[in-house]
Homo-oligomer: 375 residues x 2
Amino acid sequence: MNINGQHYRTIWRHPQQPEIVQIIDQRKLPFRFEIVDLTTAADAAVAIRDMTVRGAGLIGATAGYGMMLSALRAPKDSREAFLQQVTADGDLLKAARPTAVNLAWAVDRQLAAIGAADSIETAVQAAEITAQAIADEDAEYCRRIGEHGVELIEEIASRKKPGEAVNILTHCNAGWLAFVDYGSATAPIYAAHDRGIPVHVWVDETRPRNQGARLTAWELAQHGVPHHVIADNVGGHLMQHGMVDLCIVGSDRTTFTGDVANKVGTYLKALAAYDNGVPFYAALPSSTFDWTMTDGVHQIPIEERGGEEVHTVEGLTAAGDVTEVRILTPDSPVANYGFDVTPARLVTGLITERGICAANADSILALYPEKRSTE
Amino acid sequence: MNINGQHYRTIWRHPQQPEIVQIIDQRKLPFRFEIVDLTTAADAAVAIRDMTVRGAGLIGATAGYGMMLSALRAPKDSREAFLQQVTADGDLLKAARPTAVNLAWAVDRQLAAIGAADSIETAVQAAEITAQAIADEDAEYCRRIGEHGVELIEEIASRKKPGEAVNILTHCNAGWLAFVDYGSATAPIYAAHDRGIPVHVWVDETRPRNQGARLTAWELAQHGVPHHVIADNVGGHLMQHGMVDLCIVGSDRTTFTGDVANKVGTYLKALAAYDNGVPFYAALPSSTFDWTMTDGVHQIPIEERGGEEVHTVEGLTAAGDVTEVRILTPDSPVANYGFDVTPARLVTGLITERGICAANADSILALYPEKRSTE
């Protein structure tokens, strides 16, 4: 999507120096827009671990490019030494964020492609092709989510007065910054905006890490999509008063029975949507489905994160410095659950790269019939 | 309640200099505990306007004491000049926060008491007695709310294993800092704690102004009540997993049909409580009832506040300075609705100074039969 009027992906090869991969330092957004060079697999691992990049799709793409950097730089004098280095770099990358499913998947895909090559030269080419393919597929899946999801927005727009915006509420950042391009929850929004359908987005700030305020709002502002940032407390009031036409959120894991794990607070918005007859959708590429669990609320483990995220907030001082302030006394302990699970009964539907389906096993498996055997 | 092991109210006459009234500067909590002297009605008006004091009960008490200061300092040479000054100070106080119902009520009560006196001397005495009475009644109403509400906590405790805490979730600050003592939502909690019933409180941080993180958590920590601060997004997850036994919130206005206006986000917690079978109570003195409105969601006006509250957060730097940081770019507009309305159907009951009742007109009017005529 666009930054300062120019198209970007979240990760790309340097146009003049293809042995360098470039990313946006997302930790510094929205206060600074800085591009970081990755020249080694270790650089990529650090970027993943330090959350310079984040989001399932982008972590996978960074791991893919990280393995490409490994292949480009690994010793070329013997196949054994080459493969040893590439394998070690794969382990390094996988350890950067052990719970990120896409990370291990991308590394393993690269190891298979590299291992299948019959020479070091073709192995390097395979790593380059695979890195590009992982990124392109991620972008293409999100583009298709946008193509399917935009139909929901078009349908609502058709019932509005001419020029009246469709109001969409989203939580956290399931935007293009979390993927390679388009995003998941944002893909239908960008598609609608780019087609000239008037849209307006309510952006939950998404405490405690403020991904909505910091990332989603910045994305939308850069791409020119009208929006307002709101405290996480506000969405219920807006829905009670007819100010939200549609909710679209992302997902970190969705059971094949339709329970949606996403950033904590999603469940509260789904309850308000249900209570007020507002359609509530999760947008996700199929890699987000869990084909084994049947009861998301009780089976999906919820990460409890460190308390500093709640105790402190990062922002810009009047002098323009990025700094962290403590917002409560150290006397008060905090609890910091990172995610919650919205039960399928509150989810109107799922927007996937293959189309829109209801949040139940029959509808999901009808879109993904090859998964029926795992039931 | 207690601060550093010593009992305080939120407002009191200086023990050695009774012509001085003292308050806690609540804007500086929890970072600094500072006591401020009020010597004139104008001082009291500034304290109300600048939110050095806040909360319906405390605003009323501050107005009462402000009128006492006015009477103490007004010219005593003629009754006319005396009353003129007192009346002017009443207008000044009322203008400090025009929407605060308790403010005008306390000023008018003082003006009536002062006006009914047959000399300047007895008028000053009446103002002193009335100021004390307003504060004492506020504390007494909250104490009774605690006496009634603690029965709910006792009942839950009786079903727990010995020593296992009753988990109570609250939103915003309806604590003793918002009243003269005890608070409304916190009164049952303090009563239970002081009786040795183990309680643990989940404190919503309450963005955007963070009254939960700043005030409620500080109150509870000072009084020794176990608690955890949580992001506003977390309560739903906790309720899904049986980690909340009871929700108690305050109210800014409650219709006699049981719709509860309170700090924005309350409605979302009520939805989660209802979805998970967690009892959800609002605690309020009867002055909070609106005896005219029947449909809170559509009739209670919701204040839209300035955007700076969402754009910025105040906290403590590593160097120990209280400072404000901007947490999103000025490119992103914000919307800042201060309150929402929880419909009566989601409210298990109301805890008042006269007892607990269901959230409907019949039950409320059964406790307040003298209000039947206004139906």
